[in-house]
Symmetry: T
Subunit: 148 residues, 12 copies
């Protein structure tokens, strides 16, 4: 690992709407605000972060493959792809990088089809339900994992 | 709602092939012909329509997000994504717009995996099995819904 | 087919209560109003309609068998029998007439046992969720089907 | 809520063995060390914590009921009860307190019967897979939740 | 059977909270009030009752085993153990005493995992949904059963 | 509610045979005897009851619809329709009246297909397994419910 | 048993259409022809038969209850009710008469929902797939059973 | 078809024990007696029969393949292979001969794993539950089928 | 039972390979060594044993049928047939002899399809997981059972 | 391992009733008699045994944890906890000691919910169905396992 | 591996009928022609092949066991045993030889019970759907695998 | 078909990583090497091939639609989309071209969710498990299919 850990933060489909739609489920913070908050939290801990959001499964996979050359870990909120995408799972697994999965809402108390995750089985760990704070917690967890 | 209701008509993957492939299942009318027919039906009822077709799930989601700023309702034939896409469901739900789901073929008399729809549960209603007429019926149903 | 298409409109159990009970689910229009509206819509399109409502599965089957001698198509809202009646399915299938299935409420967003329909698999198509308008749409769809 | 938030940290069955058994799954840190670490983290954030471990489901429930009179939130690692105990769920729900569920190992990548949690559905959120750090993250998440 | 029928009334985990927590589900009557009411109803019918509540599955089983030496019947609200405890079932079955199962809430209209009962299959009968009155009805049902 | 509560007691298919067939399951009391017993119990409590039995699902629904104009509550033993009739459920729900479901035998210890009830989910409560006494208990429960 | 065995032959819903509809599945023989054939076969073997057909489940049950006073056995083709009617099963069981179940088509090579029969489990035996001959075979089987 | 229809009667594993073991399930008639009875019934109807019994699935398949050169139909009681043997199904199907499946006991009222038959789906029809008479009925049904 | 109990020890398919293949699962002892060991253990306890191994399901059934005339009990390791053979179950059941089922490996910790046994339900008992010692334990258990 | 192998024999809930209740299922031997018998069998083989019975899941876990410091193996009859307790499984696994699971009754021929064991998957092996002899066999199997 | 790789080609039940029965599914080539073709393809690649066909599962297992002494790989079309035979799986696994599974028809587009294969999980790979060419492809794949 | 058969070879998501990631599962050959090898194999057999890889499901569908105008067949490794994409299935089906499905790893011996393929049911055939050789075999199979 490089001295300054570098993290790619990935936001899946529809997460660009965070803060503007259905705040009763996802909270009122926008994605930009989350990114700002994560950036300063990373700086405090001597880490660097990049961000990527897309509504395209293929674009997410392209980016994960690209990150292999420079990133030390992946922090991902896969959105609705969590429950349906084997290819995203394959891309994350193939990256060989440690993955932390986060969700703003608590997926375990929502529709039944949201109980199954193709990502959790290959992640270091999962954080679900704490709104934007889920990202902050996930960054800590990932950096903590990288230190060991 | 604006005085002239504006509708985005969304055609999912493979529907650009309508009329040219498997006419015994999907009928012989092309997508262009359907769009023409829907346009004049809309005009008759004092509504405006725009059309969007894509084989890319992400592009469909981008377009739905974009439509939030101007459309009053969504008329969608999600094609094969009907049965697999939680992200499409999330995008439709997040749009806050009324959604009418249409299918040319009767999905209920086809393969078992086509019996499950991620879209129906969040739609105003569903129309299935009437060939290109499904779109015409769906437009009526959506405009009728908007009027109330 | 006769020159003037003749349609039997069948209302299953409890639909005689339409407009008087649970309007938040089924709407405030009474069955009589629906029938009046369907009659004039039929007249406009040069079709004739008859109506039949019963809470008795057997009476519905008797009527379907009787209609074989004069009707060109069946428009049916099977109510709760949708989900449980193989004999109704058998009667519709044996009639050899085209069947269009309609529901006022969107059955796909209600209890799970309402997701299964014994009728959909043998219908020309299904329309679900548009209140009384579902009948109007269904009539159009059926007449359109008969024209081809 | 009192000015100084008070948290009850609950360790379920077998967690008294942490650090001494199966370190390849659960890590080498002992429960005592975890408690020490959580205590100082709490102190830093102006919170108070108490700890309770038991192998007895009933004792856990008694303690949860007792905590209603003084605690502001519950941080719980239910161990193997996660997957089987409706009564623990009922006790947590009846407490009316916010609950954060944590697991040291990533339960989602273990046996299939560990994929089901009776607790997640009623928790604020879930943190799984980060070893002893899961507790630290959970404390943060819970305090953050209490602040809002 | 002794001349004066003697009944052990068993309250499972969390039922000590009755009347103080979630009154919208379980009603506002406390367990003590229920016991008082059951005691006087028993007296009216020439029966004696004892009460036992515990959050410990093992303690409930111990008590059931002890009751074999003096009781004529068991009236039990197993709480959350209803759905998970084979050992409670075994203990009730081994007692050889007639068992009546009661629930304050109507478990049949709650979460799906509450639809399965390990106790119902070995009970004389089940009463569910009438609040504290469920106990009163259950006592009657049990005494009526003993008389025959 | 009228001052004197009025109850319609409904007996589903085959219950006219009570007391004459399979007494080892259903007891030796005839339906007439049950009705007599329920009548005097009602009188004692200042209530009025009417009775209706039919082997025809449709006739039961007709009667429930008719009762809406005068009854304060429904006491029903749906017999075999319990497990198969969505239309009966719909009729009971549409009546807007409180429903208490009773069974003479303990359906929970019989064939697996008797474990599912379409009625329980919309009933105030369920009483199962106490022979003719189930009706007596159900009447009490229903009157008790009406009083609150 | 009386000296001349008396059999009630019951035809369920839609079987009045036999021979006139879907002959490729059910054969070209009409119900009347079947009855004639069964009558003469019965005469040859010194038995008497009566026939009953109805599309009404309730009417079938009424008739079965009535037959208890004079019939020695029941030969039934339950039609579509085979797969859905617990009440028909209950009526047959309550009759205490031996039941033979017949089907003209081979239900085992048709839709999956036709694989389940509520009747088979309580019948002496089942005959399925031999067209009108199924009745003839069933009569023989039933008379043979009565002789022993 | 030859003028004199020739039938191969096949008895699956354990059927050589008929009449000597578990007569309460399978009846007291021996296999030899059944064969004698079937032979004379065949003679009466101008047909010829051969018999084959084996406990070896492979031997049954060999014999079915051999019978293709001379037999006009197959009457088979597959015994326990009914529920497990895809190869037996394949052999029967490949023979191109009409198959009638018979069972002495009523398999539909026994263990659940006996409810599935790999043979029924490809048979002309099924006869189940009439003891040795099942063979006699099956022979009639098969000859009747061959005549058409 | 004869004075000297006589036991048939049956080894199912592939067990002739014991000790030569996959010793990490099945142990290094050969089948011959097991037989020798079982023989002397039998002798010590005054019992006689015969052995039979075959890869042919039919041959196993033939042998079980033959053993009825002389054996007092059956000790069987059905190998892979455990999970698939209804006919073997039928043969064992028809023998009327007490059956003890043994497995060298612990089938409960292997593939899921090995969790189901058609034999266990009709056996006196089951012993699984102790290598060749399973046979020795099974012999003891069977002789112990015969003594009572 | 110490020279004299030391075994903890654990009896789960309700097993203290052995010999006094339901002897037709569990046999007439009391738990004390079983313990006496196991003690002398152990002595014969140069082993030491201790016994522990509890109806409390938590107490069983406490004892298993305590035994780690002195025992060489565990012989356990988990009673009804076999089918529901993940925590017991976790405790046994965490002990690092070889476990042999025994049952007096043959759980495989009882209710379906008794077919699943959380313990079998981590045990050396399983013995089920031989009454009190199951313990004796289990002791042998465990000592035999320890010797290797 | 010997210098000249030696392959045993195994044809399961009913495959001796290839080319003579159901050519629309299995093609018109006979088994003999396939064997001839495979032989010359093997010769071209410097390999030797032997062939074995049987309708007896046991005979197939015997032959697989025998082949261990001389063969370098197994090419098998298990026919209907693919879906039902655990013992065949065990024999192939025990052989320690690389296995290639082939099917002439595409089993994935046929009946649902043909979707499960006990063999695929232990094979090097699977080839399905190319008629007799499947064997040719399988031979290549197997020899290619042996070379590495 | 054109004289020189033209094949489009399609590589699904993540397959651009072949040879560089997880070689223990997918082998060490890169995608470029595979393409080179397939090209020369095609040339030998007088065929032309084009290649397309994308991580975007929509791009794959676009390309399949485009290929309809020139290609004679499709050779596809759908990667993770195999198990989740109905739209890919629809596109392949709509193309009207013969499809051969290949996988480098043996998907049948991996995670359970990889056992289901939406593609296999509409493919000519499937080849799975032979590393890069799967492509070579698939090309042969496809050309062989085109020749007939």
């Amino acid at each position: 690992m490089s001295e300054t850990p570098r993290i790619l933060v990935i936001h899946g489909p529809n997460l660009n709407l965070l803060g503007t739609r259905e705040p009763e489920i996802y909270g009122a913070t926008t994605l930009e605000e989350i990114n700002t908050e994560v950036t300063s939290a990373a700086k405090e801990q001597g880490a660097e972060v990049e961000f990527f959001q897309s509504n395209h499964e293929g674009a997410l996979i392209d980016r994960i493959q690209e990150a292999v050359s420079w990133a030390d870990g992946l922090l991902i909120n896969p959105g609705g792809l969590t429950h349906t995408s084997v290819t995203l799972r394959d891309a994350l697994l193939a990256s060989g990088l440690p993955v932390v999965e986060v969700h703003c809402s608590n997926v375990f108390s929502r529709e039944e089809f949201r109980q199954r995750s193709y990502i959790s089985g290959i992640a270091v760990g999962v954080i679900s339900g704490f709104g934007p704070t889920s990202y902050w917690l996930g960054l800590h967890a990932l950096l903590d994992h990288l230190e060991r």
